[in-house]
Amino acid sequence: MDKPGHRLTLLPVDRGTVRAVIVSLVLFALAGMLWADLWRFTSPVEPRTRVPAWATDIATVRQPSLRPEIEIVGFTYRCSTCHRLFPPRPTTGRTLTQHRDIVLKHGINDRCLNCHHPENREAFVDDKGSEISYDQPQLLCAKCHGPVYRDWTHGVHGRTNGYWDAAFGPVERKLCTACHDPHVPPFPPMRPAPGPNTLRMGDQRRFHARHEEQENPLLIYQRPTSRDELDEKEHE
């Protein structure tokens, strides 16, 4: 049946059958590869882990009691419990014998009686020597921090939670002590919440040091960033 002199005479099949077998084998191989999903896309972005709960917590950084109280080994005492028995001496700047756990780092304001009332320890003192209630710390801070107090009264400094429109619900203005420790007033540094889990633009070398052999298509921008300079400074 084969033409004379055809090379495939050794095989018991004709050329058409061989071709058909090859075609079907290729098709089966393709089908297998597609089914096994050999070219599945793998994202270079790592899967997202859950964001820690503190990152979405709306609580203020401090929750001061706003009462003239002190907690000593689990018991809460009012200031007058001790200060009634031991009347304060009118001198300032002497060495502390009590409250030595309190760190006072308030700039040049390093005298207890600048803020605490010299006679009544359950109150703060204003510029004229009158008492300021413990639950009104903003009046005390206003003695020195005028512009900040002005901004705070207009809601521009400090936190406002709840409602922007008082017709719908309470507009919660937070007090100074909700963010600032009066004894160490700067806002405390904190951990940053997780950064974006996206492909990084900019200099990729820092982030992909371990994949240096791979060429990154997003490597479009090589100018050093502020962090580079900082890293270098730390290195020095």
């Binding site: 089908a31 597609l34 997202r48 780092k105 700039g107 809601g155 406002t160 962090r227």
Partner: protein, 345 residues
């Protein structure tokens, strides 16, 4: 049978035409094997359809749903009920978790404005995550409306900024932080380029998207000078227990694959008088929000009395998002000098 008849005429076939029935049978087998292989290859090529969720296919009423602005009140209610049912099915919510999909209208005499104090922002990124949680944005692939840029001190060049910063503690005293999100422009270029009018500006200043009308062309993303619009490249993945069930049609209802989304100033909250999620979570109180038409509002005070700047002012989009400073700049730039007791000055 027809295959067997045709094979002798097949030019690829080695045998001459009109040959004995034997090559014809062989030809038939060849054809059969090829046909089976071809069918298998076709089936394999279509195999990605396995991953298609029947819930993703639009229902008839969804397919014929009108544009948001053309829907009557009854049609809107029907759409809200349909969305609530879809959310329940998609996230397999138990019966005790009520899905509340609303459509709060803009309030009369209200124009929302946002102000952010760059002197106080410490770059903690809590706003980013509070926003994602509130607005049901996809966790994987990740979509976040707010991008906090760590800027070089003395520069507003975003080309030298960094948003992947990850030190042990923030703030970094060598830098400042510029959180960027949708600026809710009064002349929004994203609205101008939309070919389907799926995005528009509401009377209270918020630019919104009808997710059911968006075709995902991403023109708006390209038009936005603030990189404020996000595209759902994949089906948004949100853990069901983290889903915020207080939803609105135009803001935080779960999106589907292939649509744009953006910050809406949390309109499901703010149109009911509440603060946006990013404002409420900000630990430093750098974020301020309110009605600029109310002269007693915080934002009106800021615009009148503070030093305010508009990011990329030169592009002329008239944003409703302002950055402002305090008089002495940020305190964290200059750490307070501490006088130790006994130290001579």
């Amino acid at each position: 049978m027809s295959a067997a008849d045709n094979t002798p005429n097949n030019p690829t076939h080695g045998a001459p035409a009109g040959a004995a029935p034997e090559p014809s049978r062989r030809g038939f087998l060849r054809m059969g094997v090829n046909a089976v292989a071809g069918a298998a290859a076709l089936a394999a090529a279509l195999s990605p359809l396995r991953d298609l969720d029947p819930d993703d296919a639009p229902s008839l009423e969804e397919f014929f749903q009108k544009h948001y602005k053309e829907m009557s009140a009854e049609e809107k209610q029907a759409a809200l009920a349909r969305i609530a049912e879809q959310v329940r099915r998609r996230f397999k919510l138990p019966a005790d978790r009520a899905v509340n999909v609303q459509d709060p209208p803009p309030m009369d005499g209200v124009e929302f404005v946002y102000a952010l104090n760059v002197s106080r922002c410490i770059g903690c990124r809590k706003c980013v995550h509070a926003c994602a949680k509130e607005n049901n944005t996809s966790r994987s692939p990740e979509i976040q409306y707010i991008r906090v840029l760590q800027m070089q001190k003395g520069s507003i060049d975003v080309e030298t900024s960094e948003h992947h910063y990850d030190p042990i503690k923030i703030p970094d005293h060598q830098a400042y932080y510029l959180p960027v999100q949708c600026h809710q422009c009064a002349k929004p270029p994203c609205v101008k380029v939309c070919p389907t009018e799926a995005t528009w500006q509401e009377p209270d200043g918020i630019t919104v998207i009808d997710y059911d009308w968006c075709i995902g062309c991403r023109y708006c993303e390209a038009a936005c000078p603030y990189w404020a619009r996000r595209f759902n490249f994949g089906k948004p993945q949100i853990p069901a227990d983290e889903l915020n069930l207080d939803m609105a049609y135009l803001s935080n209802r779960p999106r589907s694959k292939g649509v744009m989304e953006k910050c809406t100033f949390c309109l499901h909250r703010t149109r009911r008088g509440r603060m946006p999620a990013c404002v409420e979570v900000c630990p430093t109180g750098s974020r301020k929000f309110g009605n600029v038409l109310d002269p007693d509002s915080e934002v009106a005070y800021i615009l009148r009395h503070k030093r305010v700047f508009v990011f990329k002012e030169e592009v002329g989009t008239l944003p409703r998002f302002f950055y402002y400073f305090d008089e002495r700049g940020s305190r964290y730039h200059e750490p307070i000098e501490v006088f130790e007791p006994g130290e001579s000055t």
